[in-house]
Symmetry: C2
Subunit: 451 residues, 2 copies
C-alpha cells in the first residue's frame, strides 16, 4: 500500500521545531514571564486581540517560523501567572521543579487508569496520596487525583450518598428519601453545582449560618443536623507547617478531604487530591464499572494496581509527578517553609494596611487571604454619608481596570454578603519579596488616588 | 520582617535545573521514546519498581543531580506511548506541534474560567469549538472542553435532563418522574457511570440491542423510545476526512456531540470537546452558578467572555492550545491526511490478517478498530472441540504478558459478549510505517507460536 513506507511526518523537522519552541518557552514564558520589570499582562480588548492573533483554522498548514511567532504571540498576550505581581487568584508562581514534572508528564503522555500504561505514576500517586493522608492524620485510607477541587467535592458528595444509600447507584435518587445536604453558607460554590449535577437539587442544600469570620457556627449546625462533610480545598497545605496546622485542628475527624496542592504549593493547575479515610474499597464500589477492555480479570499482574476504576473519569491525566518532584527537591521542610513564608507575607501586608491611611481591613486575616478596601481621598471621613458604601463599591473595579490596562499587576476583588467590593490578596509564590508587597499597596494608592 | 527581602527560591539555579530537565525530556522522552529500536516498555514487577524508584517523600530536599537522575528513571520505566509500536489504547504518537502547545500551556499555567486570566485561551477555545461544530455540520451552537470523554458524556446527560426538567437543578431527581436513559448495549461504560453519578441510577439505563457490528438497531430503539442522545467520542475525528466522514452521516441531527481529539489526532491527553447545537445558553443555565469572586457583574469588559461558568468545574485546564497549534501547523488538510493514513494502516493490517495463517478477524473493520484472534498451531483445525474457545481465550493474555516482559510492543485485548479475548489494534500515530505493522503481526506469531 502506497504511502505507508515512510512515517506520516518528518521526525527531524518536528524535533527541530520542538527545540525552538522550548527556547520560546524558556525565554518568553519562564524568564520574561517571571521578571518583575516586565508587565503582568498586555491588555487588549477581546475584538482587537482576536484580530491580532489570527486564530482562524484553515485548510493548509504553516511554516515553522510562522508557528514560532504564533507561540511568541500566545505568550505575549497571555497573563503571566508566574509573575511576582500576579495576585489575582489562588494560584501563582512558577516553580522550576514542579514545571519540570509537568513538562515530563506531557512528554510521557499517558492515562492513569492501569498499571500497564502508567506503572511509575500508579505507584507514585499511591505514595503521594498516602503522604497527604498522613498529614491529615490518617494512617490508612484511600484517594484519587481528580480534575480540580470542585470535582473532588462532587466525588465526596457522591461517595457520602453511596455509603448511606448504596442502592442509589442502581436505582437512582427516585428510590431514596428526600436528602438534605448541610454546608456552611460561605462554602465554595462547587457544593451547589455538585448538588445540581448529582441530582440532589440545590434547594436541598441547607446553608448553615457562619460567624463573621465565615466559620460555621456549631450550634447552628446542631440545630439542623449531625454533620456536614465538605472541606474547603485550598487551605489543606497549611497542614505542612507545624506552626500553622492548628488552623485545621480536627480535620482528621472528617471522612474525606479535598486538597488542592495547585494553589498554595505552586505546583501548577491541575493538582487536586480527593482523600478518604475509608479502607473498605468504598471509592471503587461507588465509582467502578469494570470495563473489560481496560480492567481485564486475567491480567498477569495484580489488578489492584489498576486504580482507574476509582473515578467517574475514564482516561485521566497524570497529576502526581509535578508534586512528587517538587517534594523530592525541597522536602517536607521546604514545603513547610513556603507555607510559612506565605503566612509571613500576609502578616506583613496586614500590618501595612493597618498602618497606611485610606486602607481598611475587612477583617484580620487568619489564613493567607487578605481582604481590604482602599478608600480614595474623596471618600475619606464620609463613612456616615448614605452614598459612602455604594461609592466605595465602585473603587476596586475602577482600580482593577486601570491596573489591567497598565499591566503592572493583577489582584482580584469581590463583594461578599452586605460588604461591597473589596480586594482579596493571596500570596503563594516564593518569588514575592517585601519590595513586591510594598509596590502592591503603593500601586493601588497611585491608581485609585483620584477616584 | 526578616526573610522577605529575598525571594524564597534561587531563580537562577531553578532555571538551570529546568534547562537540564528539558534535555532529559528531549533526549530520553522524545528522541529515545519514539525510536523504534528502543523498547516500548521496561517491565518491572510493582514491588520491584517501587524499590527501584525510591518514591518515599522525606523531610529534606535533594540536589539537582539526584533529581535529574530521578527524571531519567521516571522516563525509563514509563511506557513510551509515543513509540511507533505502542498500539495499546486509543492514544499514541507524539506530535511535536501538539507537544509544543502542551508544554507552553504548562509554562503559562492559567485557569480557563475568565477572560482576564486567560484572554488568549478564551478566544482560542471559542474558535476551536466553532471549527469542530462546523465539521459536525452546525453553523452555530455552544460547547466547552472537559476533563475527558466520560465527563463530556455526563455533561450531555445532565444538559438533556435539565432541558426537559429544568426544575431538577433546584429540586433534585426526587421531584421528577422516573427517568429512563436509552443507549446502545455496546456504548461506552461512562454512560453507566454517569447514570450512577447523576443520581439517575444504572437500572434506569435501558440498553438497546445492536447488530453484529455494534450498531444500535433502530427498530429496537423505536420499540422503546424516540431517541438516544449519546455519541461515541473517539470516532469524531473521521469528520475531518471527506473520504470517511460518511461513517458519521446524520451526526448533525444530534443535539450534542462528544469529541476526543486526544485520540485519533494525537494531540495528547486530555483534549475532549463537548459540543452542543443549542444557542439559547442552555449550558450556562444548566451548570452556571455565578460565583461573585470570579464572575463579577461590574467588570470593565464583556462578561460573556468569561466561559468558566459553563462547566461543573471551577478551575479548568487549558486544553485548546495543543490542538490549535497542531491545526495551524498542518491545516485541516493535514489532519484529514492523518485520519486517512490511520484508515489505510487498518486496511493494510486487515488484509494481512486475512492472508496469514492462524490469524482470524473478529469482523471486517469499518473504522480504525481492528479486532482479531491469533490461533496458535496447537489449536488450528480444532474449532469444533469443546475446549477450543476457552483455550483461545487464554492466548491473547499470554502473548500480552510475553510482549510486556520483552518490551517489544504493546497492544490491548478484551473479551466482548460471548467472544473470548481478542486483540484490539488501533493505529493513530503517523509515526507508524508498514514495517511496524508487519513487525506487529510477526511478533504476535513469534510470541504465540508455542502456546
Amino acid at each position: 500500500m502506497a504511502g505507508l513506507e515512510d512515517p506520516g511526518w518528518e521526525a527531524a523537522a518536528g524535533e527541530e521545531f520542538l527545540r525552538e519552541a522550548l527556547q520560546v518557552l524558556l525565554e518568553e514564558a519562564v524568564r520574561k514571564g517571571t521578571d518583575v520589570t516586565e508587565k503582568v499582562c498586555e491588555w487588549r480588548e477581546p475584538l482587537e486581540l482576536r484580530e491580532l492573533l489570527d486564530l482562524e483554522l484553515r485548510s493548509g498548514g504553516e511554516p515553522p517560523e510562522r508557528l514560532l511567532q504564533r507561540c511568541r504571540d500566545v505568550v505575549r498576550f497571555s497573563v503571566k501567572t508566574g509573575h511576582p505581581r500576579f495576585f489575582n487568584q489562588l494560584f501563582s508562581g512558577l516553580d522550576p521543579h514542579a514545571l519540570a514534572g509537568r513538562l515530563l508528564t506531557e512528554a510521557l503522555n499517558t492515562s492513569q487508569y492501569t498499571f500497564e500504561v502508567a506503572p511509575v505514576f500508579v505507584l507514585m500517586e499511591g505514595v503521594v496520596l498516602a503522604k497527604l493522608r498522613e498529614l491529615v492524620g490518617w494512617s490508612s485510607g484511600d484517594g484519587i487525583f481528580a480534575p480540580g477541587g470542585s470535582m473532588c467535592n462532587m466525588y465526596a458528595m457522591n461517595v457520602a450518598r453511596f455509603q448511606r444509600f448504596p442502592e442509589c447507584r442502581s436505582l437512582g435518587m427516585m428510590a431514596l428519601p428526600r436528602l438534605a445536604l448541610f454546608t456552611s453558607c460561605d462554602s465554595h460554590y462547587s457544593i451547589q453545582k455538585g448538588a445540581a449535577f448529582l441530582g440532589i437539587g440545590t434547594d436541598n442544600v441547607r446553608l448553615v449560618a457562619t460567624d463573621e469570620r465565615g466559620k460555621m457556627i456549631p450550634e447552628e449546625l446542631e440545630k439542623e443536623i449531625q454533620k456536614a462533610k465538605a472541606e474547603a480545598a485550598w487551605g489543606g497545605s497549611a497542614l505542612l507547617s507545624s506552626k500553622h496546622r492548628h488552623l485545621l485542628a480536627g480535620i482528621e475527624r472528617a471522612h474525606s478531604v479535598t486538597w488542592n496542592p495547585h494553589k498554595m504549593l505552586t505546583v501548577g493547575l491541575q493538582c487536586s487530591a480527593f482523600l478518604l479515610r475509608d479502607t473498605s474499597g468504598l471509592l471503587q464500589r461507588c465509582h467502578g464499572s469494570g470495563a473489560t477492555y481496560l480492567f481485564q480479570r486475567d491480567k498477569f499482574y495484580d489488578m489492584s494496581y489498576d486504580t482507574g476504576d476509582k473515578t467517574p473519569q475514564c482516561g485521566r491525566r497524570v497529576d502526581c509527578l509535578k508534586l512528587w518532584l517538587l517534594w523530592k527537591a525541597i522536602g517536607t521542610q521546604g514545603l513547610a517553609q513556603r507555607v510559612e513564608r506565605a503566612f509571613a507575607c500576609t502578616r506583613y501586608l496586614a500590618e501595612e494596611v493597618k498602618r497606611r491611611d485610606g486602607f481598611e481591613l475587612v477583617m484580620e486575616p487568619e489564613f493567607i487571604n487578605l481582604c481590604f478596601w482602599f478608600v480614595p481621598p474623596s471618600l475619606r471621613g464620609r463613612e456616615s454619608c448614605p452614598d459612602y458604601w455604594p461609592s466605595l463599591g465602585k473603587v476596586a473595579p475602577a482600580i482593577k481596570e486601570r491596573m489591567m490596562r497598565k499591566g503592572s499587576m493583577m489582584v482580584g476583588y469581590q463583594p461578599h454578603g452586605t460588604r461591597v467590593n473589596f480586594f482579596r490578596q493571596i500570596v503563594t509564590s516564593p518569588a514575592v519579596t517585601r519590595a513586591d508587597l510594598d509596590f502592591f499597596l503603593d500601586e493601588i494608592e497611585r491608581l485609585g488616588w483620584d477616584l
